[in-house]
């Protein structure tokens, strides 16, 4: 709990936090600790369980979460990342990736290790979309979407070619693993076709 308060009290805006984005890790630890603590307290323990029961380890680990949340927070606060941002590739090797990265960097907030946030968001968005449409659409279409989306998020700039490639990859997987090895893949809207 101390980290959140520390953050608020010390929280000189902008630059101070920007060099300490690593604070998400102690925050995460704190969250895990709280979840474990609440779960341990509300746990349904069967009667007649001898000590040490099912609560002991969760308690120990919850405490460890709080301890390491504080230690990590101190570590991150005392060792901020360098002020300067990693050099940007103005004229780097892969041309397609670049053109996009250049305009992306104007929009995105700069971090110490340069993180390409639009690319990460596009990638995670693709994965979420895949999970949502997998059951209704079936493997073939959602698998194609996944390949296409990830390739695009990672810098491919040939949407039409990618679309054909994605469908090919997804079909090969469907044939090899569903028909060949007998894995259970959802057929979705194309149920009757295969």
């Amino acid at each position: 709990m101390s980290t959140a308060e520390e953050l608020a009290s010390r929280g000189g805006p902008g630059e101070f936090l920007r060099r300490r984005t690593g604070l998400v890790l102690p925050l995460l630890m704190l969250l895990v600790g709280v979840v474990l603590a609440v779960g341990t307290i509300t746990m349904d323990v069967p009667e007649n369980v001898a000590w040490p029961g099912p609560r002991l380890f969760p308690t120990v680990i919850a405490i460890a979460c709080f301890v390491f949340a504080v230690l990590m927070a101190v570590d991150v606060l005392r060792h901020p990342e360098p002020e300067r941002v990693a050099a940007h590739a103005e004229d780097a090797s892969s041309d397609a990736a670049d053109a996009d990265a250049a305009d992306a960097s104007d929009v995105a907030e700069e971090t110490r290790v340069r993180s390409n946030r639009p690319a990460v968001l596009a990638l995670v968005g693709t994965l979420v979309a895949f999970i949502v449409v997998l059951d209704p659409l079936g493997w073939l279409l959602s698998g194609s979407l996944l390949f296409w989306g990830v390739a695009r998020a990672l810098g491919s700039r040939r949407p039409l070619f990618d679309a054909f490639l994605s469908i090919a990859v997804s079909s090969i997987v469907q044939l090899a693993f569903s028909a060949g090895l007998g894995l259970n893949l959802p057929p979705g809207v194309l149920a009757g076709v295969f």
Partner: protein, 501 residues
């Protein structure tokens, strides 16, 4: 001589056309995944776990043997040619290997590394064949206290050694222990942290965790780095692939020294091959500096030979420790343990009795796999390097598709896909802020074991905690651990001070 007879039977099992095909497939897949930057053996095995469902256990494990060592052969290729090691185990060999490639000796560096991987792997497998059965006999003496001590040893050793700071290593370990708590507690039947979801009663599947942390985390990290300048120039490798007599004379002792450095580290749980490979690199460097004309810094062949042999030797004996003790000493071994469990097998002393056919077939396939890999890697290393010329976005898109396929195929649960995405984001955050991934896996795998053994010991002793240190084996383990970690931390501190001064 029992070992030899058993090994002979193992060879007979493996040397059928179908099983040889699995070795070959495994070696090809393992090398291919190993060549890709950031992906290594552990991830390759995790991705293949669901795919091998329909195989019989022997076929599956024969394939895993190929994948496991294939990953180790492959990870040095991208390191030598592009200066982007395929895996952390290849970093030490890359330092001199890439310099060799820059001075026009790429082919020789690749050959040195392939032969090194072969020698390290073969010699450590021989040791495993002869000593694993006796190690297993020793382990039958182990009770709950000893197993708890082994688990604690693994926790502390891996957290102390792998991370740049003890706090970060232990933080990663705690994350793993917390993840492992989800599910129904086996001893009391209480549901823990499942949120009432029956889908979580069995806990979070290890495939979900490894694929999320190792594969998806890396793909997200690749996306985050997109657009930053990277030194990804691929150096073409041409010319003669064999070593000259002079090069051979330099490399041979380094191969053997590297192997002897790597072998003991397979049994100590320090998270795999990072430590032995760097030790081997340091040793070779020091030995070379005693003689005039050291090539270190300009592409020394010993600098490739030593670390690569050490890395594979560690992987070999780590498999021995896993089979005989049931104790994973590296991330890769942890994933292999998950593979055994998936087939209802528990590595450890009893495995040699209950599934001796499988164990010996697995050991025999180590040897066959090593020969196959040498053939695949020595003449064809430049071909493997072509894989690096494929556009990166297609390679990683393919990896993502296989990762999601594998996770879904294991359970057919959408919840697992959500979990793998969440763990992938966690893996990315850990990479971004310098937390090691290996302690998480060790925590997930050994956490439940530690808890069960602790509670068993307590139940037997009726709550008397001194039982934990009263057995001589357990007490020795704790003492060795305390001494080892103490010495390691002091050495690191003095190294840090020397650097600062």
């Amino acid at each position: 001589m029992d070992s030899l007879a058993n090994l002979g039977d193992g060879f007979l099992t493996v040397l059928t056309p179908m099983n040889m095909l699995w070795v070959l497939v495994g070696a090809l897949l393992g090398t291919a995944v190993g060549v890709l930057p950031g992906l290594g053996s552990a991830m390759a095995v995790a991705l293949l776990l669901p795919v091998t469902f329909s195989l019989d256990p022997i076929g599956a494990f024969i394939m895993f043997a190929g994948v496991l060592f294939g990953g180790l052969f492959g990870d040095s290729i991208s390191g030598i040619l592009m200066n982007t090691p395929g895996n952390s185990t290849a970093i030490a060999g890359t330092i001199e290997g890439h310099k060799m490639a820059r001075t026009g000796r790429a082919a020789q560096a690749l050959a040195t590394s392939a032969i090194a991987a072969f020698i390290g792997g073969i010699l450590s497998s021989v040791l495993v064949v002869f000593f694993a059965p006796s190690l297993a006999d020793l382990a039958t003496l182990f009770g709950p206290e000893e197993y708890l001590a082994l688990a604690v040893f693994a926790f502390v050793a891996i957290s102390a050694v792998v991370a740049e700071s003890l706090v970060r290593g232990l933080t990663a370990l705690v994350i793993g222990l917390a993840i492992a708590l989800v599910g129904v507690d086996g001893m009391s039947g209480a549901a823990r942290f499942t949120g009432g979801q029956p889908e979580l009663f069995d806990g979070i599947n290890i495939v979900v965790i490894t694929v999320g942390l190792l594969a998806l985390g890396e793909v997200i990290a690749v996306a985050a780095r997109r657009g930053t300048r990277q030194d990804t120039e691929l150096i073409p490798s041409g010319g003669r692939l064999w070593l000259s007599r002079e090069e051979f004379r330099l490399a041979l002792p380094a191969w053997l020294r590297g192997t002897s450095i790597g072998v003991p580290f397979g049994i100590i749980p320090v998270g795999g091959s990072e430590v032995p490979t760097f030790l081997a690199y340091g040793t070779e460097r020091r030995l070379a500096s005693r003689k005039p004309g050291s090539m270190f810094g300009k592409g020394a062949i010993q600098g490739v030979a030593g670390p690569e042999a050490a890395g594979n030797a560690t992987a070999g004996t780590a498999m021995g420790a896993l089979l005989a003790l049931g104790l994973p000493t590296s991330a890769t071994a942890a994933v292999m343990l998950a593979a055994f469990r998936q087939y209802g097998l528990q590595p450890g002393p009893l495995l040699f009795e209950r599934a001796s056919e499988l164990v010996w077939a697995l050991l025999a396939s180590f040897f066959i796999g090593m020969v196959v890999l040498l053939i695949l890697n020595l003449p064809f290393a430049p071909l493997w390097a072509k894989l690096l010329k494929l556009p990166r976005h297609y390679l990683y898109a393919g990896i993502t598709v296989f990762a999601m396929l594998g996770v879904y195929a294991t359970s057919s649960k959408l919840l697992d896909l959500v979990l793998v995405l969440a763990i992938g984001l966690l893996g990315f955050a850990m990479r971004r802020y310098g937390l090691p991934v290996a302690p998480v896996l060790i925590g997930v795998i050994l956490g439940p074991l530690a808890e069960t053994e602790f509670r068993r010991a307590m139940a037997v002793s009726e709550g008397d905690p001194t039982v934990l240190v009263s057995s001589p084996i357990a007490a020795t383990l704790y003492a060795v651990l305390a001494l080892g970690v103490g010495a390691f931390l002091i050495q690191r501190r003095s190294a840090a001070l020397a650097k600062a001064a």
